[in-house]
């Protein structure tokens, strides 16, 4: 799905990430952990071509990111669902229209039944016509997840998705992500929440990656 080959990325001449070699295989479940500022968000942005590497090669859906046109990147993003900690919405549109936004921009129409099922799945059916500013942090995260999966993407990238949530809500979101993985989706969650990682590892075959000294390593049993 997404592969990194000798990838380095940095700002102002100094590398934040260096010599990253990694492959996110189809159907895999990964956690990415590391201290704040280690480069977790940067890594995720490289995964969906919001950033391009300074050196090395990122391959997204069999295309080299650096040589993708802007339209190619847009089409690739329709196959990659992204959930941010501070998920953003179009505040002038109700929740259901925000969730169907990926379909709208790709010229498709959401089937009412499918949308209803999706809203039920994330527990937002009663809030379908509410506006994003009216949602709580947990509701926003779930709405962002629904938006990320409505196109049936191959990859789900979540950047600190539980950062603003209490433990119960974090578990609920994690459960949704694990369900998606069981459906065959590739999932990568960037988080520094070790309890969340331990909880997930007890239920799903997740690999844990750690950013340390600008490099990504497979974490061992020290979690």
């Amino acid at each position: 799905m997404i592969a990194f080959e000798g990838v380095s990325y940095g700002y102002d001449g100094s590398n934040l990430l260096a010599d990253i070699n990694l492959r996110l295989a189809a159907g895999s479940f990964h956690f990415l952990t590391g201290p704040s500022g280690a480069g977790k968000s940067t890594f995720l942005k490289l995964c969906y071509a919001e950033l391009l590497p300074n050196s090395g090669r990122v391959t997204i859906m069999d295309q080299i990111a650096a040589s993708m046109s802007r339209d190619d990147i847009a089409f690739a993003r329709r196959r990659i669902g992204v959930v941010h900690q501070d998920c953003q919405f179009l505040d002038h549109l109700p929740v259901d229209e925000n969730i169907t936004l990926p379909l709208t921009v790709s010229g498709q129409v959401a089937q009412p039944r499918d949308l209803r099922e999706l809203m039920d799945w994330v527990g937002l059916a009663p809030l379908a016509r509410a506006y994003p500013p009216q949602l709580s942090g947990g509701e926003r995260q779930r709405a962002a997840l629904a938006r990320a999966v409505i196109m049936g993407p191959d990859v789900i990238l979540a950047d600190e998705p539980t950062g603003n949530l209490d433990w119960d809500m974090s578990l609920r979101l994690l459960t949704l992500l694990m369900e998606l993985n069981r459906m065959g989706k590739t999932v990568l969650i960037a988080t520094h929440d070790m309890n969340l990682i331990r909880q997930a590892k007890s239920q799903v075959a997740a690999r844990v990656l750690r950013i340390s000294n600008k490099r990504i390593q497979l974490a061992g049993a020290d979690l």
Binding site: D71, A74, R77, R78, P102, V105
Partner: protein, 303 residues
């Protein structure tokens, strides 16, 4: 972009797309600013167009009125005046290219001078030259040859072919017309500049919206089209209102016939009333290309 592509793109841009249109937040001061700017510019453009068309008519009228006529001015002792008039008329009647010639009567000369000296001018007692009016036919005449023949037959006769008067008037009217069209061009440019600024401001203000749209896989063309359509339709609506207001204002100007002067003739005539209707589509086209260029540039900046 080829013309056919541009037209297809323009048509697509003007076709409302409810779902796509809704992605751009509906409000903002740029909304009424664009409509107002387009309306005000269209209003001014109507007057510039009226000026240009009126100047064109004036130039043609003056040219037509003076182009096919000439005057022979005859100064001679009183006892020879009739003889020389006859001699001049004989010369003129035998000159190829002259359709007719006749000496103005004393009353006609008095009428010509009345605006300056009043109606009671004793023309007969003043040593005024006699005037002979010449009407050319379509082939025209050899003015230099005529001058030489007049010098031989009637030494006091001077041929005035109106070139000296006609040229500056026609040039002045043509320059006024040019000025009118130049004003329209400037108004068009200013409209494009203002709409570009408004569109750029709207795009910058909606950077967050654009970020979300890109995150969910929107192509730049899709995002740009949503803004372009909105600004094009606003400019079109504003220009339509401004054009109608301008036409109403022009229609209530005094009619040309009442005083016969240039200023009172500043308006449209006949089919000329249809020409301002080109302004709203023109504003739409200007807004389309201005917003499109601004959107493409801004979207490249917002990586």
């Amino acid at each position: 972009m080829r013309p056919s592509q541009a037209i297809a793109s323009l048509r697509a841009s003007l076709t409302p797309d409810g779902s796509a249109d809704s992605i751009v937040p509906p409000s903002g001061h740029t909304a009424w600013l664009t409509t107002f700017t387009a309306g005000a510019m269209a209003f001014l453009a109507v007057f510039a167009l009226a000026l240009a068309l009126a100047s064109g008519r004036l130039a043609e009228r003056w040219s037509d009125a003076l182009e096919r006529t000439a005057t022979v001015r005859l100064s001679a002792p009183q006892d020879q005046i009739d003889l020389q008039i006859q001699a001049v008329l004989n010369v003129l009647q035998t000159t190829p290219g002259i359709a007719s010639a006749r000496a103005l009567t004393a009353d006609e000369q008095r009428a010509l001078l009345a605006p300056w000296f009043g109606p009671d001018l004793p023309v007969d007692t003043l040593p005024l030259p006699r005037l002979i009016e010449i009407n050319e036919d379509t082939s025209g005449y050899d003015s230099e040859g005529l001058r030489q023949r007049l010098a031989a037959e009637a030494p006091g006769a001077v041929l005035d072919d109106h070139t000296r008067w006609r040229k500056p008037l026609a040039v002045a009217a043509q320059r006024l017309r040019l000025l009118g069209f130049l004003s329209i061009a400037l108004i068009t440019g200013a409209t494009a500049a203002m709409i570009t600024l408004a569109a750029s401001a709207a795009l910058a203000a909606n950077a967050g919206v654009i970020k979300v749209l890109r995150l969910v896989g929107a192509r730049d063309g899709y995002i740009a089209a949503a803004f372009v359509r909105r600004f094009t339709l606003r400019a079109l609506a504003g220009a339509l209102a401004g054009t109608l207001a301008g036409m109403i204002a022009v229609s209530i100007l005094p009619a040309a016939d009442e005083a016969g002067g240039f200023l009172t003739g500043l308006g449209f005539q006949g089919w000329g009333w249809m020409t301002p209707l080109i302004l709203p589509p023109l504003a739409g086209v200007v807004a389309y290309f201005a917003t499109r260029a601004a959107a493409i540039r801004k979207l490249k900046e917002l990586t």
